[in-house]
């Protein structure tokens, strides 16, 4: 299964120290990213989707700690690497794009200096060549008059343009793996569409495998090949994007898809998922989704036993629900 994967995350566990004791933010998360594919990791706040990515990159905040699992990248375990080895990798073979480009760019350095730096850190080239490469990269993400704009500062760029700069820096060294965490969330609708297009082009041009972390199902519909749905620190469903949207096999995925206003044209009431997201400090017993799940009503197994993430068919789809078969039957009608 993981033989040909660019990245294979296996049984990742990440915990945070809190005043209430250790909290498990990521619990036994496993997924593969194959060459050239885009894996969308979707979940709500607190689902662990960003923490999983930060764990893999060695970028957890001080209170966080990886306590289990492996993340194999080119035969090496990222979770076992020392900080120096990880630094060499980040921005080179693995690169990242975060939500807010204003906090990721240094306000006192010019755009040119920062993009060139992304090259110089990992490549032994003359500064002149790095600067030329910076112009080329900025032009490739659709920044007009790139050579002139090299000497401008981040605040002279709009939000969408700054995010293009981040994409340019992320692909500077032709990464094998690109991790984008809510790359368009802070942007306006029309700008979001443009940046998404630039990101897709950058991905296609470099052939990078991509992990797209988002709360936005529309983004997955647009860009993902496969989807990993997270809830309360766990993967609750995985599968190819078409199957997930057509026939979700976990009640949470199903609820998320149905509750979007765009999905229910004409209906007066939205089919909302009831209840509140669970607290990681005190997760519900059994299946962590059972308090909000219509399928679990009056069913003892849901309250008692946490279901395993098990295949639902032979296409690589898996669901963490005792009763996923009932969802299939409902859909088939």
């Amino acid at each position: 299964m993981s033989g040909d994967a660019v990245l294979s995350v296996q049984g990742l566990v990440t915990e945070f120290r809190t005043p209430q004791g250790a909290v498990r933010a990521v619990d036994a998360v496993s997924f593969d990213v194959r060459p050239g594919e885009t894996v969308g990791v979707v979940g709500e706040s607190g689902s662990g989707k960003s923490t999983a990515a930060l764990s893999v990159l060695g970028l957890l905040p001080p209170a966080g700690r990886v306590t289990g699992g492996r993340a194999l990248f080119g035969g090496r375990d990222l979770l076992a690497m020392n900080p120096e080895e990880l630094r060499e990798l980040r921005g080179d073979a693995v690169s990242m794009i975060f939500q807010d480009p204003l906090t990721s760019l240094n306000p006192v350095l010019t755009i040119g200096a920062q993009v060139a730096e992304a090259v110089l850190v990992h490549r032994d080239v003359p500064e002149r060549a790095a600067r030329d490469r910076a112009v080329e990269l900025l032009a490739s993400v659709g920044i007009e008059d790139a050579a002139q704009r090299l000497d401008q500062y981040p605040h002279e760029f709009s939000g969408g343009m700054r995010q293009r700069v981040m994409i340019a820096m992320a692909i500077a060294n032709e990464p094998k793996l690109l991790i984008a965490d809510e790359p368009t969330t802070a942007l306006d609708v029309t700008v979001q569409a443009q940046v998404l297009r630039v990101l897709a082009q950058a991905r296609d041009r470099t052939g990078a495998s991509t992990i797209l972390i988002t709360h936005d199902l529309g983004l997955l519909a647009e860009m993902a090949d496969r989807v990993v749905v997270m809830y309360c620190g766990r993967v609750v469903e995985t599968g190819d994007v078409f199957s997930i949207f057509r026939e979700p096999r976990h009640p949470y995925t199903r609820g998320l898809l149905a509750s979007r206003p765009g999905a229910t044209a004409g209906a007066r009431r939205l089919p909302a998922v009831p209840g509140q997201p669970p607290s990681l400090a005190a997760p519900p017993s059994g299946c962590t989704f059972h308090p909000r799940c219509a399928l679990s009503q009056g069913r003892e197994p849901c309250r008692r036993a946490e279901p395993d993430l098990l295949p639902v068919d032979d296409t690589g789809r898996a669901s963490r629900c005792h009763y996923h078969r009932e969802l299939a039957r409902e859909e088939a009608r």
């Binding site: 700008v191 569409a193 709360h215 529309g218 609820g255 998320l256 206003p261 939205l270 998922v273």
Partner: protein, 276 residues
């Protein structure tokens, strides 16, 4: 809907801002954030105001509730022009116009209990005393789907969706006629958004509320609005019923917005087909 009374009539609204500090202040032109905006709202109706950041939708909202004083134009609320109204008379009208803000994390005072947050407008207008206040607070909690036991807790003990329910309860405390909602669900998680949208629609029906609903999410606005106004660069470029705006947009900018709207299903991908 057209036979119902007009609650709010905004006519030729203009709001200009002075340029930032420094030497430029004297010579630079004033920024016109809202430029000749007009619309009407009838009782029980929801008008959705959509547009991208900087288009003037929030400034328009703030002029309507008179958090900002308009530069020109009329804001006619049931026969009174709020745009020019003096402080004392404004105070009276304020009970009838309330606002719900985007960020339930930032708009609730973290030092107050939920009870105090909801009771505050009642106290300010002298409607808390004589046992009526606590009763009203409990009634409001029930109305927005929170438990009575929640009233002695603090905002940080709640999730985003519950906090927004507290914000809504506070806005309803004084029995307003018009509620201005500025991006009320955009900070919420997907599964919670739907709950709050349903709640807002239930409350509108139950209390005969009129909504000015400001948002950037086209699908949300389509779902909740009776009519939609599209704003760009301080102006309304198009107003119409949701079907008209979405299916037969007249303005090029509306078409551009709709084209940029994220797809809802992978089968809508251009040039790609569902392999199954």
């Amino acid at each position: 809907m057209t036979d119902r009374e007009v609650v709010l009539r905004v006519d030729g609204l203009v709001k200009e801002f002075a340029p930032g500090g420094g030497l430029a202040r004297r010579t630079a032109p004033r920024t016109r954030a809202v430029d000749d905006v007009s619309f009407e709202l009838r009782r029980g109706e929801t008008l959705g105001l959509v547009g991208e950041s900087g288009c003037g939708k929030t400034t328009t909202a703030r002029c309507v509730v008179r958090l900002l004083r308009p530069t020109a134009g009329r804001v006619d609320f049931r026969g009174n022009d709020l745009a020019t109204m003096g402080r004392r008379r404004l105070r009276g009208v304020r009970q009838e116009i309330q606002m719900v803000f985007q960020d339930p994390y930032a708009s609730l005072d973290p030092r107050l209990t939920v009870h105090e947050i909801i009771a505050e407008p009642l106290r300010i207008f002298g409607r808390y005393g004589g046992g009526a206040g606590p009763r009203r607070v409990r009634e409001l909690l029930d109305l927005v789907g929170l438990e009575a036991g929640h009233e002695n807790r603090y905002p940080h003990e709640f999730s985003g969706g519950q906090r927004q329910r507290v914000g809504i309860a506070r806005a309803l405390a004084l029995d307003p006629r018009l509620v201005v909602l500025d991006e009320p669900v955009s900070a919420l998680d997907v599964s919670i958004q739907a709950q709050v949208i349903n709640l807002l629609q239930d409350l509108q029906e139950e209390l005969d509320l009129t909504y000015l609903f400001i948002a950037h999410d086209l699908d949300v606005v389509r779902h909740i609005s009776d009519r939609i106004a599209v704003m760009r660069r301080g102006r309304i470029v198009e107003t119409g019923e949701p079907e008209q705006i979405f299916d037969r947009p007249a303005d090029p900018y509306t078409r551009e917005l709709l084209a940029a709207k994220p797809i809802t299903d992978p089968t809508q991908r251009a040039g790609r087909e569902d392999p199954a």
